[in-house]
């Protein structure tokens, strides 16, 4: 078994809030270059899984490896798109400024961003179709636009792995299309994308890999092999049928 083949490998991961378990003994192997959805009911620990992979939350047991090494040593290879609602959008800053934040990691402590970083940020803004909004105060942006700004911030990081927490929540249809197109483009560049996703209907259309999660890992693999009523029922508890057009 060559560990290098896996973008992310999770072993026996258990996470508990206040000693109430939210993730249980998760084993997960995510190959490089997939566009993967994490699906599961509310409270299944989807966001927690992402946060645990990123080291934002400390697990009580288990380990996470990014390209075979601990996350701390691979910070520059991973980009994170948090939930839109996790920040205060009334913060005094502009769209361009937020996107520039994506360059801070590679700059390291104390060093300030310069022309090179600004150029990268502008390119990312253009990619998400927000170039004309660069000087806009972030509270003046619509929900979809805010989500695109977050995506642009991650794009600037130029990482190998992208972890996204519900990027389609509360965005308009145009933005959803724009985002998924960018994700597919990233995938074709060989990047690995892991997306917490809510809308089961769109899973086969958007993704090629899927992980079912409900506190325990239920199943993980190619959409065409494992996205079926059996796994959905196991994940969502009730006898789940979804109209899937494959």
């Amino acid at each position: 078994m060559n560990k290098k083949n896996y973008a992310i490998q999770v072993d026996d991961l258990t996470v508990a809030y206040d000693y109430k378990p939210v993730l249980w003994d998760i084993d997960l192997k995510i190959p490089e270059g997939v566009l993967m959805a994490i699906v599961g009911p509310n409270g299944a620990g989807k966001s927690t899984l992402i946060k645990a992979i990123l080291g934002i939350i400390k697990p009580i047991a288990g380990s996470v490896k990014v390209f075979g090494k601990p996350y701390k040593k691979q910070v520059d290879k991973v980009a994170y798109v948090p939930q839109k609602g996790s920040v205060d959008w009334d913060f005094p800053t502009t769209a361009l400024d937020v996107v520039m934040m994506g360059t801070y990691g590679s700059l390291g402590w104390i060093k300030r961003p310069g022309q090179k970083e600004k150029k990268a940020a502008l390119e990312a803004l253009e990619k998400v179709g927000m170039l004309s909004f660069q000087d806009r105060q972030i509270s003046q942006l619509s929900g979809g636009q805010q989500q695109r700004i977050f995506l642009a911030r991650a794009l600037v990081q130029n990482a190998a792995i992208y972890l996204m927490d519900e990027p389609f929540q509360g965005v308009d249809a145009t933005t959803e299309k724009a985002i998924i197109n960018i994700l597919k483009e990233l995938k074709s560049d060989g990047k690995t994308l892991i997306v917490v996703h809510h809308d089961l209907q769109t899973v086969p259309e958007y993704f090629d890999w899927v992980t079912f999660l409900n506190v325990k890992g239920i199943a993980s693999g190619p959409v065409k092999d494992i996205f079926n009523d059996d796994n959905l029922t196991k994940t969502y508890g009730i006898n789940y049928k979804v109209a899937v057009n494959q």
Binding site: Y19, P21, D25, D27, P59, I60, A61, G62, V215
Partner: protein
């Protein structure tokens, strides 16, 4: 003990009880800091009221000052709605502004107002017995007893009348609203009672320390009980205790009574904070340790259930595989063995016993349905020894 001493303790005890009642609801409704805002912002109302009535115990003055208190709450809510600043900043701006106006008014009119800054911060409990209510020639006792007694009776009767509504709207706002108890009426009712109480208590303990009497007894009680009635009774008890113990401490040190009442409350809180049977930090510490061990145990059992591969189940391998750092692998193994959940064979391979398998299955079911209480029951049923 002289009668003046007795009267001071009586007034202090009445004030403490009057504060504890609205305080309980403020603490439970996560609005404790509102009492801080009210107690500061009534000052200009008090001073204006004093210009008009010339009597700190006049009902009109109390009413005027209480209105200022309610207005503060409304004003804070207004600023918050404009979205210009967040709620905490709004509170943090409004009350110092009004308090400053009050302090300046007092300083500028020092000769006309028999209020000084010390009285604002500490109250004048020591002098309370000298301001007496006279009916003709008959001495009816200190005015403060009558004022604070009336306030206490009002809030007690409101409490008894609306106990059910208050309880429901405190613990389940949505349900209360659907049952027709207007949350707005209850909210402003509580604000009004709090304001009146603060004004009544102001004379005795001053603007800042009234906050201690409102927050500290209920907060201390909340660490000891889950029951609203018990919490109210305990709060009143802590209040009265601090009144009497505080008086004698002040007497001994020859220092401020209000300050020493607060200090007694501080010591009470510290003791409960450290030693309360369920919520105190010592017991929380032990409980956390136990929980951590038990969660680790569950992880371990689940791991055994998930992996049939002998390599994954070897005693020496567990340490490496389930990243134990916080809990020693050995304690977990011991705990599992003691509870007959696992067995270790001659090759040092660990496997689940029948009981262990049953337990793991059920635990998993409970975890995925997110029922926390259920898992505690389960532990009671299966465990002979706790972690």
């Amino acid at each position: 003990m002289s009668s003046a001493q007795l009267e001071i303790q009586l007034i202090a005890a009445l004030v403490a009880m009057a504060c504890a009642i609205p305080g309980t609801f403020l603490v439970l409704r996560k609005m404790a800091m509102i009492s801080d805002a009210i107690s500061h912002s009534i000052l200009p109302g008090l001073v204006f009221g004093f210009f008009i009535t010339q009597d700190l115990n006049s009902p009109l003055l109390i009413l005027l000052a209480a209105v200022t208190g309610v207005l503060t709450v409304i004003f804070v809510e207004f600023i918050q709605k404009t979205g210009l600043v967040k709620e905490d900043t709004a509170i943090g701006l409004v009350f110092p502004a009004l308090f400053s106006i009050g302090v300046i008014l007092i300083a500028k009119n020092a000769n006309d107002v028999h209020l000084d800054i010390d009285a604002v911060l500490l109250g004048e409990l020591a002098f309370a017995p000298f301001d007496r209510l006279m009916f003709g020639e008959t001495d009816l006792g200190p005015k403060s007893v009558w004022v604070i007694g009336t306030i206490l009776i009002i809030s007690l009767s409101l409490l008894l009348l609306f106990f059910k509504e208050l309880k429901l709207s405190t613990f389940d706002k949505g349900l209360a609203a659907t049952l027709g108890f207007s949350p707005i009426v209850l909210h402003y009712g509580l604000m009004t009672v709090s304001s009146i109480t603060v004004v009544g208590a102001f004379d005795a303990v001053g603007a800042v320390l009234v906050v201690a009497l409102i927050i500290a007894p209920p907060a201390t009680a909340y660490l000891l009980t889950n029951n609203l009635k018990k919490m109210l009774v305990l709060s009143c008890f802590f209040g009265i205790f601090s009144a009497i113990a505080g008086y004698w401490l002040a007497n001994y040190l020859d220092a401020s009574i209000a300050g020493s009442m607060t200090s007694v409350l501080g010591v009470l809180f510290l003791l409960v904070y450290l030693f309360a049977p369920k919520q105190g930090i010592f017991s929380v510490y032990f409980k956390e340790k136990q929980q951590r061990k038990e969660v680790s145990l569950l992880v371990f059992l689940l791991h055994l259930q998930n992996h049939q591969d002998p390599k994954e189940r070897h005693v020496n391998h567990l340490q490496e595989h389930i990243n134990w750092q916080k809990v020693q692998a050995k304690t977990v193994l011991d705990l599992a063995t003691k509870n007959n959940l696992i067995q270790i064979d001659a090759n040092n391979l660990v496997s689940l016993t029948e009981k262990g398998r049953e337990f793991t299955d059920e635990a998993l079911k409970y975890i995925t349905t997110n029922k926390e209480t259920a898992i505690e029951d389960l532990k009671k049923r299966f465990f002979l020894f706790r972690g």
